[in-house]
Amino acid sequence: MSWVTKTLDSTLGRKLLMALTGLFLILFLVVHLAGNLQLLAGDGGDAFNVYAEGMAVNPLIRAVSILNFSFIALHVIYAILLSRHNKKARPVAYAVTNPSANSTWASRNMGILGTVIFIFILVHLRGFWYRLKFGTPEKVMIDGVEYKNAYIIVEEAFKNPIYSGFYVLSMIFLAFHLYHGFASAFQTVGLRHKKYTPLIQKVGIGFAILVPALFALIPIVMYIQSL
Protein backbone atom coordinates (compact mmCIF):
# COMPACT_ATOMS: atom_id res chain seq x y z
CA MET A 1 0.00 0.00 0.00
CA SER A 2 3.03 2.25 -0.26
CA TRP A 3 1.42 4.29 -3.03
CA VAL A 4 -1.48 5.18 -0.74
CA THR A 5 0.76 6.55 1.98
CA LYS A 6 2.95 8.20 -0.63
CA THR A 7 -0.03 9.94 -2.19
CA LEU A 8 -1.58 10.93 1.11
CA ASP A 9 1.72 12.19 2.42
CA SER A 10 2.27 14.59 -0.48
CA THR A 11 1.14 18.18 -0.10
CA LEU A 12 -1.77 17.41 -2.39
CA GLY A 13 -2.66 14.25 -0.52
CA ARG A 14 -2.70 16.02 2.81
CA LYS A 15 -4.90 18.70 1.36
CA LEU A 16 -7.21 16.02 0.05
CA LEU A 17 -7.59 14.58 3.53
CA MET A 18 -8.31 18.05 4.89
CA ALA A 19 -10.94 18.61 2.24
CA LEU A 20 -12.64 15.25 2.54
CA THR A 21 -12.79 15.31 6.32
CA GLY A 22 -13.95 18.91 6.10
CA LEU A 23 -16.74 18.02 3.74
CA PHE A 24 -17.84 15.23 6.04
CA LEU A 25 -17.85 17.59 9.00
CA ILE A 26 -19.96 20.02 7.00
CA LEU A 27 -22.51 17.26 6.51
CA PHE A 28 -22.31 16.44 10.18
CA LEU A 29 -23.10 20.05 11.02
CA VAL A 30 -26.35 19.80 9.11
CA VAL A 31 -27.42 16.66 10.91
CA HIS A 32 -26.37 18.04 14.27
CA LEU A 33 -28.19 21.28 13.64
CA ALA A 34 -31.37 19.47 12.66
CA GLY A 35 -31.30 17.65 15.97
CA ASN A 36 -30.40 20.67 18.07
CA LEU A 37 -33.12 22.82 16.63
CA GLN A 38 -35.56 20.57 18.48
CA LEU A 39 -34.36 22.37 21.59
CA LEU A 40 -36.51 25.22 20.38
CA ALA A 41 -39.57 23.03 19.79
CA GLY A 42 -41.25 24.51 22.84
CA ASP A 43 -42.32 21.11 24.17
CA GLY A 44 -40.27 21.18 27.36
CA GLY A 45 -37.51 19.22 25.67
CA ASP A 46 -39.40 16.03 24.87
CA ALA A 47 -38.55 15.89 21.20
CA PHE A 48 -34.91 16.68 21.95
CA ASN A 49 -34.63 14.04 24.62
CA VAL A 50 -36.09 11.40 22.35
CA TYR A 51 -33.69 12.43 19.64
CA ALA A 52 -30.69 12.42 21.99
CA GLU A 53 -31.49 8.96 23.20
CA GLY A 54 -31.91 7.78 19.65
CA MET A 55 -28.50 9.11 18.79
CA ALA A 56 -26.96 7.25 21.70
CA VAL A 57 -28.41 3.82 21.04
CA ASN A 58 -28.64 3.52 17.27
CA PRO A 59 -25.60 1.39 16.25
CA LEU A 60 -25.34 3.08 12.86
CA ILE A 61 -25.26 6.51 14.46
CA ARG A 62 -22.69 5.26 16.93
CA ALA A 63 -20.49 4.06 14.11
CA VAL A 64 -20.85 7.37 12.33
CA SER A 65 -20.03 9.20 15.50
CA ILE A 66 -16.79 7.25 15.89
CA LEU A 67 -16.02 8.16 12.30
CA ASN A 68 -16.88 11.73 13.08
CA PHE A 69 -14.51 11.90 16.02
CA SER A 70 -11.72 10.35 14.02
CA PHE A 71 -12.33 12.79 11.18
CA ILE A 72 -12.14 15.71 13.56
CA ALA A 73 -8.88 14.26 14.83
CA LEU A 74 -7.56 13.76 11.28
CA HIS A 75 -8.63 17.25 10.28
CA VAL A 76 -6.73 18.66 13.25
CA ILE A 77 -3.64 16.49 12.88
CA TYR A 78 -3.30 17.25 9.19
CA ALA A 79 -3.89 20.92 9.82
CA ILE A 80 -0.95 20.86 12.21
CA LEU A 81 1.20 18.87 9.80
CA LEU A 82 0.43 21.22 6.92
CA SER A 83 0.92 24.34 8.98
CA ARG A 84 4.32 23.15 10.08
CA HIS A 85 5.24 22.27 6.52
CA ASN A 86 4.03 25.64 5.27
CA LYS A 87 5.89 27.50 7.95
CA LYS A 88 9.12 25.79 6.90
CA ALA A 89 8.56 26.81 3.30
CA ARG A 90 9.17 30.45 4.25
CA PRO A 91 11.86 30.57 6.92
CA VAL A 92 12.43 34.32 6.57
CA ALA A 93 9.27 36.39 6.80
CA TYR A 94 8.58 39.58 4.89
CA ALA A 95 9.01 42.83 6.74
CA VAL A 96 5.99 44.36 5.09
CA THR A 97 2.98 42.47 3.80
CA ASN A 98 -0.30 43.59 2.38
CA PRO A 99 -2.23 40.35 2.12
CA SER A 100 -5.67 41.93 2.18
CA ALA A 101 -4.91 43.14 -1.32
CA ASN A 102 -5.08 39.62 -2.69
CA SER A 103 -7.00 37.35 -0.33
CA THR A 104 -9.66 37.23 2.36
CA TRP A 105 -8.80 37.26 6.03
CA ALA A 106 -10.60 33.98 6.63
CA SER A 107 -8.67 32.15 3.94
CA ARG A 108 -5.37 33.12 5.52
CA ASN A 109 -6.37 32.34 9.09
CA MET A 110 -8.02 28.95 8.90
CA GLY A 111 -5.56 27.69 11.50
CA ILE A 112 -6.53 30.30 14.08
CA LEU A 113 -10.21 29.86 13.31
CA GLY A 114 -9.83 26.11 13.51
CA THR A 115 -8.01 26.28 16.83
CA VAL A 116 -10.84 28.28 18.41
CA ILE A 117 -13.36 25.88 16.99
CA PHE A 118 -11.38 22.96 18.35
CA ILE A 119 -11.34 24.48 21.84
CA PHE A 120 -15.05 25.02 21.48
CA ILE A 121 -15.55 21.38 20.58
CA LEU A 122 -13.67 20.27 23.69
CA VAL A 123 -15.71 22.56 25.92
CA HIS A 124 -18.85 21.47 24.16
CA LEU A 125 -18.11 17.78 24.60
CA ARG A 126 -17.18 18.23 28.22
CA GLY A 127 -20.35 20.19 28.90
CA PHE A 128 -22.88 17.95 27.20
CA TRP A 129 -21.64 14.77 25.63
CA TYR A 130 -19.40 13.79 28.58
CA ARG A 131 -22.03 14.54 31.19
CA LEU A 132 -24.67 12.68 29.29
CA LYS A 133 -22.53 9.67 28.61
CA PHE A 134 -20.43 9.30 31.74
CA GLY A 135 -22.31 11.44 34.27
CA THR A 136 -25.57 10.66 36.05
CA PRO A 137 -28.13 12.72 34.24
CA GLU A 138 -31.68 13.12 35.50
CA LYS A 139 -34.29 10.89 33.97
CA VAL A 140 -37.52 11.99 32.41
CA MET A 141 -40.65 10.04 31.37
CA ILE A 142 -41.98 10.66 27.90
CA ASP A 143 -44.97 8.69 26.71
CA GLY A 144 -44.28 6.10 29.35
CA VAL A 145 -40.66 5.54 28.41
CA GLU A 146 -37.71 6.67 30.52
CA TYR A 147 -35.15 8.94 28.90
CA LYS A 148 -32.03 10.72 30.06
CA ASN A 149 -32.96 14.40 30.43
CA ALA A 150 -30.49 16.00 28.10
CA TYR A 151 -32.67 19.03 27.74
CA ILE A 152 -32.24 20.03 31.38
CA ILE A 153 -28.46 19.98 31.02
CA VAL A 154 -28.66 22.30 28.04
CA GLU A 155 -31.19 24.55 29.70
CA GLU A 156 -29.01 24.84 32.79
CA ALA A 157 -25.91 25.52 30.80
CA PHE A 158 -27.36 28.30 28.68
CA LYS A 159 -28.67 30.15 31.72
CA ASN A 160 -25.08 31.22 32.16
CA PRO A 161 -24.53 34.32 29.98
CA ILE A 162 -20.78 33.71 29.73
CA TYR A 163 -21.32 30.16 28.56
CA SER A 164 -23.94 31.24 26.04
CA GLY A 165 -21.77 34.12 24.94
CA PHE A 166 -18.88 31.73 24.35
CA TYR A 167 -21.14 29.60 22.21
CA VAL A 168 -22.28 32.51 20.11
CA LEU A 169 -18.73 33.75 19.67
CA SER A 170 -17.54 30.32 18.66
CA MET A 171 -20.21 30.18 16.01
CA ILE A 172 -18.85 33.39 14.51
CA PHE A 173 -15.48 31.68 14.22
CA LEU A 174 -17.17 28.69 12.69
CA ALA A 175 -18.88 30.98 10.21
CA PHE A 176 -15.57 32.39 9.00
CA HIS A 177 -14.04 28.92 8.90
CA LEU A 178 -16.89 27.75 6.69
CA TYR A 179 -16.87 30.92 4.64
CA HIS A 180 -13.53 29.84 3.21
CA GLY A 181 -13.63 26.14 3.95
CA PHE A 182 -16.81 25.21 2.13
CA ALA A 183 -15.81 26.26 -1.40
CA SER A 184 -12.13 25.56 -0.69
CA ALA A 185 -12.87 21.90 -0.03
CA PHE A 186 -14.53 21.58 -3.42
CA GLN A 187 -11.56 23.31 -5.06
CA THR A 188 -9.12 20.96 -3.34
CA VAL A 189 -10.89 17.79 -4.39
CA GLY A 190 -10.79 19.18 -7.89
CA LEU A 191 -14.45 19.97 -8.31
CA ARG A 192 -14.19 23.18 -10.20
CA HIS A 193 -16.31 23.99 -13.18
CA LYS A 194 -17.28 27.16 -14.94
CA LYS A 195 -20.97 26.29 -14.59
CA TYR A 196 -21.12 24.96 -11.05
CA THR A 197 -18.35 26.66 -9.12
CA PRO A 198 -20.16 30.01 -8.83
CA LEU A 199 -23.12 28.11 -7.38
CA ILE A 200 -20.89 26.21 -4.95
CA GLN A 201 -19.36 29.47 -3.83
CA LYS A 202 -22.77 31.06 -3.26
CA VAL A 203 -24.09 28.03 -1.42
CA GLY A 204 -20.91 28.03 0.65
CA ILE A 205 -21.42 31.61 1.75
CA GLY A 206 -25.09 30.95 2.49
CA PHE A 207 -24.15 27.88 4.46
CA ALA A 208 -21.43 29.73 6.36
CA ILE A 209 -23.95 32.33 7.47
CA LEU A 210 -27.08 30.26 8.02
CA VAL A 211 -25.78 27.20 9.84
CA PRO A 212 -23.69 28.96 12.51
CA ALA A 213 -26.46 31.53 12.90
CA LEU A 214 -29.02 28.82 13.65
CA PHE A 215 -26.60 27.13 16.02
CA ALA A 216 -26.07 30.46 17.77
CA LEU A 217 -29.80 31.06 17.92
CA ILE A 218 -30.23 28.19 20.37
CA PRO A 219 -28.18 29.60 23.29
CA ILE A 220 -29.55 33.06 22.60
CA VAL A 221 -33.17 31.94 22.72
CA MET A 222 -32.63 29.66 25.67
CA TYR A 223 -30.81 32.35 27.57
CA ILE A 224 -33.61 34.80 26.95
CA GLN A 225 -36.17 32.19 27.97
CA SER A 226 -34.26 31.70 31.20
CA LEU A 227 -34.51 35.34 32.19
Binding site: W3, L12, K15, V96, T97, N102, S103, R108, Q187
Partner: protein, 249 residues
Amino acid sequence: MNLTLKIWRQQNHADKGGFRTYSITGISEDMSFLEMLDVLNEELTEKGEDPVHFDHDCREGICGTCSLFINGRPHGPKQTTTCQLHMRSFSDGDTITIEPWRAKSFPVLKDLMVDRGAFDRIIQAGGYVSVNTGGVPDANEIPIPKVIADEAFDAATCIACGACVAACKNASAMLFVSAKISQLALLPQGQVERRERAEKMIAQMDAEGFGACSNTGACSAECPKGIKQSNIARMNREYYAASVVTENV
Protein backbone atom coordinates in the same frame (compact mmCIF):
# COMPACT_ATOMS: atom_id res chain seq x y z
CA MET B 1 8.64 63.12 -7.14
CA ASN B 2 10.74 62.38 -4.09
CA LEU B 3 10.73 59.02 -2.41
CA THR B 4 12.17 57.10 0.50
CA LEU B 5 13.29 53.59 -0.35
CA LYS B 6 13.77 50.84 2.20
CA ILE B 7 15.70 48.18 0.36
CA TRP B 8 16.89 44.76 1.49
CA ARG B 9 20.65 44.51 1.11
CA GLN B 10 22.42 41.19 1.41
CA GLN B 11 25.97 40.62 0.20
CA ASN B 12 25.51 36.95 -0.66
CA HIS B 13 23.58 33.86 0.36
CA ALA B 14 25.58 33.37 3.55
CA ASP B 15 25.22 37.00 4.64
CA LYS B 16 22.42 37.82 7.09
CA GLY B 17 21.35 40.97 5.34
CA GLY B 18 19.22 43.89 6.45
CA PHE B 19 17.35 46.96 5.29
CA ARG B 20 19.02 50.14 4.14
CA THR B 21 17.16 53.37 3.63
CA TYR B 22 17.79 55.65 0.68
CA SER B 23 16.13 58.83 -0.41
CA ILE B 24 15.78 59.61 -4.04
CA THR B 25 14.64 62.79 -5.72
CA GLY B 26 13.44 63.98 -9.08
CA ILE B 27 11.72 60.79 -10.15
CA SER B 28 9.44 61.16 -13.18
CA GLU B 29 6.12 59.37 -13.14
CA ASP B 30 6.78 58.05 -16.64
CA MET B 31 9.68 55.97 -15.34
CA SER B 32 9.24 52.29 -14.80
CA PHE B 33 9.97 51.02 -11.32
CA LEU B 34 13.21 49.45 -12.53
CA GLU B 35 14.29 52.68 -14.19
CA MET B 36 13.80 54.36 -10.84
CA LEU B 37 16.19 51.79 -9.38
CA ASP B 38 18.59 52.45 -12.27
CA VAL B 39 18.65 56.09 -11.20
CA LEU B 40 19.34 55.04 -7.62
CA ASN B 41 22.16 52.77 -8.77
CA GLU B 42 23.77 55.51 -10.81
CA GLU B 43 23.74 57.70 -7.70
CA LEU B 44 25.12 54.93 -5.52
CA THR B 45 27.90 54.20 -8.01
CA GLU B 46 28.82 57.85 -8.05
CA LYS B 47 29.05 57.81 -4.27
CA GLY B 48 31.15 54.66 -4.38
CA GLU B 49 28.47 52.46 -2.84
CA ASP B 50 27.70 49.01 -4.23
CA PRO B 51 24.65 49.30 -6.49
CA VAL B 52 21.48 47.42 -5.59
CA HIS B 53 21.40 44.07 -7.38
CA PHE B 54 18.08 43.00 -8.81
CA ASP B 55 17.02 40.60 -11.54
CA HIS B 56 15.65 42.03 -14.77
CA ASP B 57 16.01 41.40 -18.46
CA CYS B 58 13.38 41.99 -21.12
CA ARG B 59 11.67 44.89 -19.35
CA GLU B 60 8.53 44.27 -21.34
CA GLY B 61 6.75 41.91 -19.02
CA ILE B 62 7.34 38.58 -20.70
CA CYS B 63 10.65 37.00 -19.67
CA GLY B 64 9.70 36.64 -16.01
CA THR B 65 13.13 37.65 -14.75
CA CYS B 66 12.15 40.64 -12.64
CA SER B 67 10.77 40.08 -9.19
CA LEU B 68 10.71 42.37 -6.11
CA PHE B 69 8.26 42.38 -3.23
CA ILE B 70 7.13 45.99 -3.17
CA ASN B 71 5.19 47.37 -0.22
CA GLY B 72 4.00 43.95 0.75
CA ARG B 73 3.02 42.70 -2.68
CA PRO B 74 4.87 40.83 -5.43
CA HIS B 75 5.53 43.15 -8.39
CA GLY B 76 3.94 45.99 -6.40
CA PRO B 77 0.46 47.46 -6.43
CA LYS B 78 -0.56 46.56 -10.00
CA GLN B 79 -1.22 43.10 -11.34
CA THR B 80 1.73 43.21 -13.68
CA THR B 81 5.46 42.58 -13.66
CA THR B 82 7.74 45.02 -11.86
CA CYS B 83 9.25 46.14 -15.16
CA GLN B 84 5.79 47.21 -16.32
CA LEU B 85 5.01 49.00 -13.08
CA HIS B 86 5.33 52.73 -13.54
CA MET B 87 6.05 55.37 -10.99
CA ARG B 88 2.68 56.99 -11.63
CA SER B 89 1.36 54.24 -9.35
CA PHE B 90 3.12 55.99 -6.46
CA SER B 91 2.85 59.47 -4.95
CA ASP B 92 5.38 62.06 -4.00
CA GLY B 93 6.73 61.47 -0.50
CA ASP B 94 5.92 57.75 -0.42
CA THR B 95 8.09 55.29 1.45
CA ILE B 96 8.56 52.13 -0.58
CA THR B 97 9.79 48.91 1.00
CA ILE B 98 11.50 46.53 -1.42
CA GLU B 99 12.27 42.94 -0.46
CA PRO B 100 13.33 39.84 -2.36
CA TRP B 101 10.97 36.92 -2.90
CA ARG B 102 10.91 34.98 0.36
CA ALA B 103 10.79 31.22 0.14
CA LYS B 104 12.99 28.38 1.30
CA SER B 105 13.08 27.13 -2.28
CA PHE B 106 14.16 30.56 -3.61
CA PRO B 107 17.42 31.26 -1.75
CA VAL B 108 18.62 34.86 -1.91
CA LEU B 109 21.75 35.26 -4.03
CA LYS B 110 22.41 38.92 -3.47
CA ASP B 111 20.27 41.87 -2.41
CA LEU B 112 16.99 41.38 -4.26
CA MET B 113 18.07 38.48 -6.48
CA VAL B 114 16.92 34.95 -5.75
CA ASP B 115 17.62 31.55 -7.27
CA ARG B 116 14.50 30.15 -8.95
CA GLY B 117 16.22 27.02 -10.24
CA ALA B 118 13.56 24.96 -8.44
CA PHE B 119 11.12 25.92 -11.19
CA ASP B 120 13.44 24.55 -13.86
CA ARG B 121 13.85 21.30 -11.96
CA ILE B 122 10.08 20.91 -11.69
CA ILE B 123 9.74 21.31 -15.47
CA GLN B 124 12.60 18.86 -15.95
CA ALA B 125 10.66 16.33 -13.90
CA GLY B 126 8.01 16.08 -16.61
CA GLY B 127 6.76 19.41 -17.95
CA TYR B 128 7.07 18.36 -21.58
CA VAL B 129 5.75 16.10 -24.29
CA SER B 130 8.39 13.48 -25.02
CA VAL B 131 8.78 13.90 -28.77
CA ASN B 132 12.09 14.00 -30.56
CA THR B 133 12.81 16.42 -33.35
CA GLY B 134 11.47 15.13 -36.64
CA GLY B 135 9.09 12.34 -37.46
CA VAL B 136 6.04 14.05 -36.06
CA PRO B 137 2.64 14.15 -37.78
CA ASP B 138 1.46 17.09 -39.83
CA ALA B 139 0.34 19.93 -37.59
CA ASN B 140 -3.23 19.81 -38.87
CA GLU B 141 -3.58 16.10 -38.17
CA ILE B 142 -4.23 16.99 -34.55
CA PRO B 143 -7.40 19.09 -34.54
CA ILE B 144 -7.98 20.81 -31.22
CA PRO B 145 -11.26 22.58 -30.35
CA LYS B 146 -10.68 26.31 -30.17
CA VAL B 147 -11.94 26.58 -26.60
CA ILE B 148 -9.53 23.88 -25.46
CA ALA B 149 -6.64 25.47 -27.34
CA ASP B 150 -7.48 28.84 -25.81
CA GLU B 151 -7.66 27.44 -22.32
CA ALA B 152 -4.36 25.61 -22.78
CA PHE B 153 -2.88 28.85 -24.05
CA ASP B 154 -4.11 30.74 -20.98
CA ALA B 155 -2.28 28.27 -18.77
CA ALA B 156 0.78 28.30 -21.02
CA THR B 157 1.28 32.05 -20.65
CA CYS B 158 2.94 31.53 -17.25
CA ILE B 159 6.27 33.37 -17.18
CA ALA B 160 7.69 31.55 -14.14
CA CYS B 161 8.43 34.79 -12.34
CA GLY B 162 7.56 33.25 -8.98
CA ALA B 163 5.07 35.90 -7.89
CA CYS B 164 2.66 33.10 -6.96
CA VAL B 165 5.17 31.64 -4.54
CA ALA B 166 6.04 35.09 -3.24
CA ALA B 167 2.40 36.03 -2.67
CA CYS B 168 1.32 32.79 -1.09
CA LYS B 169 1.38 32.73 2.69
CA ASN B 170 2.66 29.17 2.40
CA ALA B 171 5.21 29.87 -0.34
CA SER B 172 3.38 27.33 -2.44
CA ALA B 173 4.24 26.77 -6.09
CA MET B 174 0.92 25.17 -6.98
CA LEU B 175 -0.12 27.83 -9.47
CA PHE B 176 3.12 27.51 -11.41
CA VAL B 177 3.05 23.72 -11.43
CA SER B 178 -0.65 23.53 -12.22
CA ALA B 179 -0.28 25.89 -15.18
CA LYS B 180 2.06 23.48 -16.94
CA ILE B 181 0.15 20.36 -15.90
CA SER B 182 -3.07 21.97 -17.10
CA GLN B 183 -1.70 23.06 -20.44
CA LEU B 184 -0.53 19.57 -21.28
CA ALA B 185 -3.52 17.81 -19.71
CA LEU B 186 -5.87 19.83 -21.89
CA LEU B 187 -4.07 19.22 -25.17
CA PRO B 188 -4.25 15.92 -27.01
CA GLN B 189 -0.47 15.92 -27.36
CA GLY B 190 -0.11 15.68 -23.61
CA GLN B 191 -2.40 12.70 -23.07
CA VAL B 192 0.18 9.94 -23.42
CA GLU B 193 2.22 11.03 -20.41
CA ARG B 194 -0.59 12.78 -18.60
CA ARG B 195 -0.67 10.62 -15.47
CA GLU B 196 3.04 10.19 -15.00
CA ARG B 197 3.64 13.87 -15.59
CA ALA B 198 1.35 14.88 -12.75
CA GLU B 199 2.96 12.42 -10.35
CA LYS B 200 6.53 13.36 -11.20
CA MET B 201 6.09 17.11 -11.26
CA ILE B 202 4.28 17.15 -7.93
CA ALA B 203 6.87 14.87 -6.36
CA GLN B 204 9.54 17.30 -7.49
CA MET B 205 7.54 20.29 -6.26
CA ASP B 206 7.33 18.70 -2.83
CA ALA B 207 11.00 17.75 -2.85
CA GLU B 208 11.91 21.38 -3.50
CA GLY B 209 10.21 22.32 -0.24
CA PHE B 210 7.38 24.54 -1.47
CA GLY B 211 4.37 24.89 0.81
CA ALA B 212 0.90 23.46 0.36
CA CYS B 213 -2.13 25.25 -1.03
CA SER B 214 -4.64 26.97 1.24
CA ASN B 215 -6.78 28.16 -1.66
CA THR B 216 -6.46 31.77 -0.56
CA GLY B 217 -6.25 32.78 -4.22
CA ALA B 218 -3.42 35.21 -3.55
CA CYS B 219 -1.32 33.56 -6.26
CA SER B 220 -3.86 34.10 -8.96
CA ALA B 221 -4.73 37.60 -7.77
CA GLU B 222 -1.08 38.62 -8.02
CA CYS B 223 -0.13 36.66 -11.15
CA PRO B 224 1.00 39.13 -13.82
CA LYS B 225 -0.42 36.82 -16.46
CA GLY B 226 -3.68 36.13 -14.64
CA ILE B 227 -3.21 32.36 -14.46
CA LYS B 228 -6.44 31.04 -12.98
CA GLN B 229 -6.95 29.06 -9.80
CA SER B 230 -9.00 26.57 -11.79
CA ASN B 231 -5.67 25.18 -12.95
CA ILE B 232 -4.91 24.12 -9.40
CA ALA B 233 -8.21 22.26 -9.19
CA ARG B 234 -7.37 20.55 -12.46
CA MET B 235 -3.92 19.62 -11.19
CA ASN B 236 -5.49 18.13 -8.07
CA ARG B 237 -7.81 16.02 -10.20
CA GLU B 238 -4.92 14.94 -12.39
CA TYR B 239 -2.84 13.95 -9.41
CA TYR B 240 -5.52 12.01 -7.57
CA ALA B 241 -6.51 10.23 -10.74
CA ALA B 242 -2.87 9.47 -11.49
CA SER B 243 -2.30 8.03 -8.02
CA VAL B 244 -5.24 5.70 -8.37
CA VAL B 245 -4.84 4.75 -12.02
CA THR B 246 -1.14 4.36 -12.77
CA GLU B 247 0.57 1.09 -12.07
CA ASN B 248 3.54 2.69 -10.34
CA VAL B 249 3.48 0.98 -6.98
